[in-house]
């Protein structure tokens, strides 16, 4: 009997120790999150990641605006401008400036890369998820990836080109930069692929303006081709939008509807914000005088607006405080206030596309057609038609002025300047430099003029944080000591 007891004990111990279930016992899964093995099962999973990727992009609108506008000379500093944008505005650009951070756009890229890589396998798991729906979602992801890279190229010129999603710590986290050519050709092939599967309409105005429809993708493609001086392709894509019959220029009295209430007839792609979803872009707070007004319209450029131009006083800017009224008002008199601080941020609207086409026509020496586009817009804006001696330079200046009037402070003008300035071996370099020194203080203007002769200085440096972590990254040429 004693032996019996001992046997029971020893066998019980053996049972406990030798239990093969032990290794399973240590496999624990969280209750409030999904591990990657359980994810990518349904269409809803794919859509949620897409939605988050859009959401990440929407969180960056203010930075995108500053990247595209700060150095263009149309804005000046306001009372509460933070120090980093103030430095850039005045021509002091360094790698420690927080505006050199590109991290959020790579979050967008990583989100898009995940959808592009993992969504196809979901079709097999979710019977209700059709191949068509898959391709539509992938076209949106390709759009988001492309627009992010396009912003990065226009801002930094060369950045690492990442096309695989990061999901494990075994991957290479230390990429080098890719060339501008490689990135741009990737963008073009991605966008062409996206265009083939793109949606014409999502069925609601908000979705049609706020998500990547065929027209949003086409607008981006036109923009990209224009950047690459591929004028014929740019015109093809502009024409598709202009001729679609879905968009119309707003009349003189309605021009402000672009900004309030937004999602106007002329809008092609604008990032959506709404109190209903609890999202605001912070644009009202940035530009309102009452909230400290970080930026004003540059008083030195006000003469581009003729008195009868509907895009001037009371719409683009306010009279006494020079607020950028596009983001502050709901009409010439009333401010948005906290109740209406959910401005959308417009990325493409019809006037922009028309002017893109005009720009391409100018470069193709088709001044007549370009002029008729410009005059069509001018007429709608309440100012008369104009004419110009048919030289490239004169027309380029006319076009730039028209873009400034139409799109001031919409995050466009600085990119326009670089695009035009770098053409034909920097034929219009001086035009860029003139804008760059508009906000500089008098004592440094001379030295800045010399500095900005190097077109590499038009691009931002890679953030020092990134350089320190990733030793495979090279600083952009102008900023290497």
């Amino acid at each position: 009997m004693k032996i019996f007891r001992i046997v029971i004990f020893l066998s019980s111990i053996a049972l406990l120790l030798g239990n093969q279930a032990c290794s399973e016992w240590l496999n624990l899964l969280p209750e409030d999150e999904l591990v990657s093995d359980e994810f990518w099962m349904s269409q809803e999973d794919v859509e949620s990641v897409l939605s988050n990727t859009y959401g990440t992009f929407s969180g960056e609108v203010k930075k995108l605006l500053l990247w595209g506008e700060l150095r263009g000379g149309l804005m000046s500093e306001g009372r509460n401008i933070p120090s980093d944008p103030s430095r850039i505005l005045k021509g002091d650009v360094t790698e420690t400036n927080s505006l050199t951070s590109w991290s959020a756009l790579y979050k967008v890229i990583n989100g898009a890369n995940q959808i592009i890589q993992f969504a196809p396998s979901v079709v097999d798991r979710d019977p209700s998820f059709s191949k068509l729906e898959l391709n539509q979602i992938i076209s949106e992801a390709l759009f988001l990836r492309s627009i992010s890279y396009f912003y990065l190229v226009r801002t930094f010129k060369e950045v690492p080109l990442i096309l695989e999603p990061y999901t494990s710590d075994e991957q290479d986290y230390y990429p080098a930069k890719s060339t501008e050519e490689d990135i741009m050709s990737q963008i073009i092939s991605d966008l062409n692929r996206a265009l083939d599967n793109a949606v014409i309409s999502f069925g609601s105005v908000e979705y049609d303006k706020g998500r990547a429809t065929r027209y949003a993708i086409g607008a981006l493609l036109a923009d990209v081709y224009l950047w690459l001086d591929d004028y014929n392709n740019a015109i093809i894509h502009c024409d598709e939008i202009i001729g679609s019959g879905r968009f119309a220029l707003l009349g003189a009295g309605n021009w402000f509807q672009n900004f309030y209430p937004g999602n106007s007839n002329s809008s092609i792609f604008e990032i959506q914000f709404s109190k209903r979803w609890g999202t605001t872009p912070g644009l009202y707070e940035t530009f309102s005088y009452q909230r400290g007004r970080q930026y004003t319209i540059n008083p030195r450029i006000l003469d581009i607006y003729e008195p009868e131009d509907v895009r001037g006083l009371g719409t683009t800017y306010s009279s006494n405080n020079l607020e950028i009224w596009k983001y502050v008002g709901i009409n010439p008199e009333e401010e948005r206030g906290d109740a209406y601080n959910d401005n959308n941020f417009i990325i493409y609207r019809l006037a922009d596309i028309m002017l893109m086409k005009a720009e391409a026509l100018i470069q193709l020496d088709n001044f007549d057609d370009a002029l008729s586009i410009i005059n069509e817009i001018r007429t709608k804006r309440g100012i008369g038609e104009t004419s110009m001696e048919p030289t490239k330079e004169a027309f380029e200046d006319l076009l730039l002025d028209e873009r400034a009037r139409e799109l001031a402070a919409e995050g466009k003008f600085w990119f326009d300047l670089i695009r035009i300035g770098k053409r034909d071996n920097y034929r219009r370099k001086e035009r860029v430099i003139t804008a760059l020194i508009l906000n500089a203080s008098a004592d440094v203007i001379l030295s800045l003029q010399t500095k900005f002769q190097d077109p590499n200085s038009w691009f931002l440096p890679v953030s020092r944080d990134e350089l320190q972590i990733n030793t495979n990254l090279q600083q952009n040429p102008y900023y290497q000591n």
Binding site: L16, V159, I469
Partner: protein, 1073 residues
Amino acid sequence: MKSNSFLILTIAFLCVNGFVDAQTIIRGLVTDSISGEPLLGATVVQIDQSNRFINGTITDVNGNYSIKISGEQPTLGFSYIGYKFKTLEAGDRKEIHVQLVGQREELDEVVVVAERTNAGDGLSNIAVRDLATSVSSIDMSDLEGMPVASVAEALQGRISGVDISYTSGDPGAGMSIKIRGNTSLNGNSQPLIILDGVPYETTIGADFNFLDADVADFGSLVDLSPADIKSIQVLKDAASTAVWGSKAANGVIVITTKRGINRKTQFVLDYRASYVFEPKPLPMLDGDQYVRLMLDSKFNRNPTSTSIPDEYLNDPNSPDYYNFNKNTNWVEAINQNGYTNDLNFSVAGGGDKARYRASVGYYDQKGTTIGTGLRRISTRLNLDYIISNRLKLTSDFSYTNNDRDQNYYDGEWDNRDKQVRALAYRKAPHMSIYEYDPLGNLTGNFFSPVNSRQGSGESYPNPVALAKDGIKNDLKDRVLTNFQLEFNILPGLNYYANVSFDIVNNRGTKLLPESATGVQMGNNALNRTQTKEDNQSIIQTFNKLIYNPELRGGHDLMILGMFSTYDKYASQMSLASSGIPSYALYDPSNMGINDQATSAQSRIRTLSYLLNAHYIYRDRYILGGGIRFDGDSRFGRNNRYGSFPSLSVAWRLSSEEFMSSLDWLSDFKLRTSYGVNGFPAQGSYEYLAKYESSYGYMDMNGIRLGNVQLNNLRWETTTQFDYGFDLSLLNYKITVNFDVYNKFTKDIIFANLSVPSTSGFSTMTSNWGEMRNKGWEFNLILNVVNKGNFSFDFDFNLSRNRNIIEKIPENYSNEVFGVENGEYARRIVEGYPIGSFYGFIYQGVYSRPEDVIGYDNEGNVILDPATGEPLPLMIGNINVGAGDAIYEDINYDAKIDELDIVYLGDANPDFYGGFGLNFRYKNFSLNSYYTYKIGQDVINETRMYTENMYSMDNQSTAVLRRWRKDGDVTDIPRALYVQGYNWLGSDRFVEDASFLGMRTLTLAYQTSAAALKIKGISSIKGYVTGYNLFTLTNYTGQDPDVGFSGTDPFAIGKDRSKTPKPVSFTLGINMTF
């Protein structure tokens, strides 16, 4: 799962019982051996060969009994309270009369219980003396009469190599404990606590970093009354901690509680009352001085402005005249004198079969800041039942109820701005505490304007209102049980089975009252309230086999095998709300706005296998070694198991025959050891790639990949070598212990290692870096005199630890840097210790505008090549002016930037330790204890924020020396409202915080047993203790003993005006009867 199958088997075993055969009856009478009187109610039992009770009865009023017995050759046992237990072979007798011998005449004899005490490593039963590893031991009877609330407080300075400091002087705040330096950057350097053989969880909900993870809740380290503790061992080298495997990388503290012993029931009553006084606060500006400073700083910023804000105009016609123009000392207004009441009562005793100790304690403390306090009720029952010679059951049960009040704070515990004490230092002194009407009559309300010149009521609440009306309460229940069955399988072979449960419930309540902020309806801060429930349950099982055979020829061998499991489940739920109309209705269910509900759960499991052996030959040669495997659910399959070997060797020279002639040598042991410990990843499901709910776009919900899969994540390991000796001379009159150690940590797990953002992530958990801790420890105990009436002994310990970061990844960067006021560069540099400070060198104040020029390395003025004029000295993008701070221009470029940052010192003390002096004369004893730290640097953040003159915060009286006009020569720059760089992180605020402090001074009186005339009382001890009576230091802050709490390694050594540890006086009485 595991524990269930174990329980069933155990129960099955218990059910196997002896066979019952023929029964007979024995009768008899039980009487007192002296008086011959019959004993009523005496116990009569039949016992089998293994001493197990088979049957029993009690005697009747006449002392007669009759008992049914079974089996051949029965044995009877007789017992009665106060009498010795007696056994008899019954043989064939049917009538047995017994006389029992009383124990009274033997009361003076000390009852010695033959037990192996001081289990060295908390796991096996090897005495400390026989270990080859570095273990420090402390007997709690040394600490009797100290007014301490926790174990950590009691241990401070008493054990070499153990660095304990305060995190705050508030009731219930934690202590930070470091054994042999920081081994990790995980922020958690706290050692593992083993309570009666079971690892004891010292954190609650450590996995949750959302909401306000409260590091101070590390709290009263062990929710255990110090009166219940018998002894504490500190395991310092890895050979001794390796048996505890992965959790023991920071060292192990083994706590053994008191148990019942075989003797007459003993009652102990312990009561102490303390009075607690706050040390003198830093001198701050009064209202008038403050107003002058504010005007100065305003005009320095904008010299053309001439307007004076209404608040500062001493205008009796203003409606708020009586509310401003005050001289309020806010810090004094939130101070109070505290007290402590601590009552412990225990009863212990037992017989041959059963032993028990039960205790109940009540602790009540009022802190020195208004609104802080701690009430704790604790009960503990330790029961041992010897079922038979071979089977023993041990069960421990404890329950603690902690009710802790703190001041309301917003967000993180370390948030400098939001704590009441910090607020009191900042709050404008020209404002009144209570509100006056325009006629100068008190309204009975707190004066909390929605807005004042200083800022909104939300950012500058009324500190007194916040302390009085604000709530931060934690109500914590904790139940801890441990059942152990010990079975002697064969001679020398024992099996132990343990199951232990640890259940914690915590309900936290917070309220930011409207009376402090003054905010109106509709504001989110109106009566903001939060209720939070944390629940945690831990189930641990241990199955242990110990083989300890009787060997001849001086051999002594112990082999231990163990399998253990650990399963911790924690959950948290929180409900927050604001906008509740009245702060009396502070429960968040009361119709607030902005309701927020959050919840989280986590589970962690580990499995461990241990094989350990210990061999002694003739008390001379000691060899120990073992290996432990830990599996942890926090790692992926490939790296889940860690192996932790250990080896230790010792040679006791004093037992060698050739040494036996040396009478003066009592004990001399040389030892060396090697061992490895591991540190697991933090967070429950760290290695898994997880998709989490996140923001979406428009009306679409969003999910994102929260982190990548960590396939490479592996154990952080620490390898330690230890060399030491233990020496006792002159019949243990002198004892010296000395240890040298070298501790090397590699694969440090860093939770927020920056990765290139091109990955879509900014940080990742990853193994990197190597760190080394080298040091030595010296411990001395001297029994100087011990003659009859008088004794004097002295103990002293001294430790040195040097921490060095040996390797960081090539592309590591955690430095977030811009030239910013108040910021020290967050740098980790190879060759320097963790806790190092990097910043600028402060050289005083520019007296005149013409002084503000830069010099090159030859001392020549740097000229602008264009103009030939001296180049203006720049910081950031602004020019420096007269009255501004001078920083050393290390690279001679007339620009103060990050290239001018240098190493300024570090927070690790060069030497630390403590010493005690104990005198005894007849029945009086006088004990004192001192702790010291030498060579530790501290960033005096409190001073930084009270001398910067940058905001509208109140400042210390040091700013009265500030620069005001050209030509002033002073060490304090000019006042400049939110402009300039006059308080960059520099050596100006780094101070040497070396100190020597008296911890306790106790005068005690104990009666001898013979002198006691009172019947029933065997001893009385009364004492008076003074606590923290003085501290010698050059440090200008309130308390140089700055603790490190929190998870940010860059916060080490920053003094953030926590409540300093108070001065207190205690009156105590200890009675045994």
